[in-house]
């Protein structure tokens, strides 16, 4: 398994991975072409405080993760993982863990003291406590709020 920075040539594989996720029917509703268009647009718009990594298994991209890091007021910078997806037919091989390990090192190299992420409680990853088993602490006191500015999938 190779973990490396994403290239433009990986975007098709990433779009196909998203399209295949049974827990995210919104991507199937969008259609593969529209998913690829969004991924391509986002890839070119991502800035220098973001990092996209992919996991490659036998020449095939089977997972990816996105992290960005922010300078906080009166605190060490913090990394936030906005996405981490692994292809279903490649699960159980430590790919998610390897992607997280890579992001940990990259965040640490940028002076971050911690990483955060949002996991949804109705996901398989939450049910099997994927993050808790790797030492992540769930902040039960935290409440997430979102303001939607446009219709989105």
């Amino acid at each position: 398994m190779i973990i490396r920075r994403a290239l433009e040539s990986d975007l098709e594989a990433i779009a196909e991975l998203l399209f295949s996720l049974v827990e995210y029917p919104s991507f199937q509703k969008m259609g593969l072409e529209a998913v690829l268009a969004q991924v391509t647009k986002s890839f070119s718009a991502s800035h220098h405080q973001q990092l996209i990594v992919v996991a490659e298994l036998e020449g095939r991209v089977v997972g990816y993760a996105v992290m960005y890091w922010m300078t906080l007021l009166f605190m060490q910078p913090e990394g936030y993982i906005s996405e981490l997806f692994v292809h279903l037919d490649a699960s159980g091989q430590g790919i998610g863990t390897a992607l997280l390990e890579k992001l940990k090192l990259e965040a640490n190299a940028r002076g971050c003291q911690r990483l955060t992420l949002i996991n949804l409680m109705d996901r398989e990853s939450y049910r099997r406590q994927f993050y808790a088993k790797q030492g992540w602490k769930e902040q039960k006191n935290a409440v997430r709020f979102v303001l939607n500015l446009e219709e989105r999938v």
Partner: protein, 152 residues
Amino acid sequence: MIIRPAQPADARAIAEILHSLEEYPRYKKETLPMLEQTISSSLSTTSERTVLVAELESRVIGFMMAHWFVPLTAPLEGFISNLFVYAQFSNLGAGTALLEAIKLDAKTRGCSRVALNNWRDKKSYAAGFYEARGFGEKPLSARFVLNFEEHL
């Protein structure tokens, strides 16, 4: 009330607000010069973040910091990491005005949504502050943190 981008010269006023926050004792523990010096370098607005202050009669009474990033699966997103108002100037609408300004900024940047974390034990949560201003609570969202001191 005026909402404007923060300047390095606002560091003292922002430090005073932080120092006065009853709900955040970690700021109270610091000295004002220490707070001022540390935050003065992070007050500029860039393509990755927006830092705003609310000013009333030439006095800075509120502060907000938001960060911008692009998920692969969606257009630009915003995250508000700080929103503070001086307790003695609460109920004057400074928090609301700061949120309105960030909404406008977000729309200008082509942002699809803005998120933030609140805490169950804070007054703003008990008061339903964000809900009243268009934010929706996400009851299925679980926030996880990994501290490097323990894990690297």
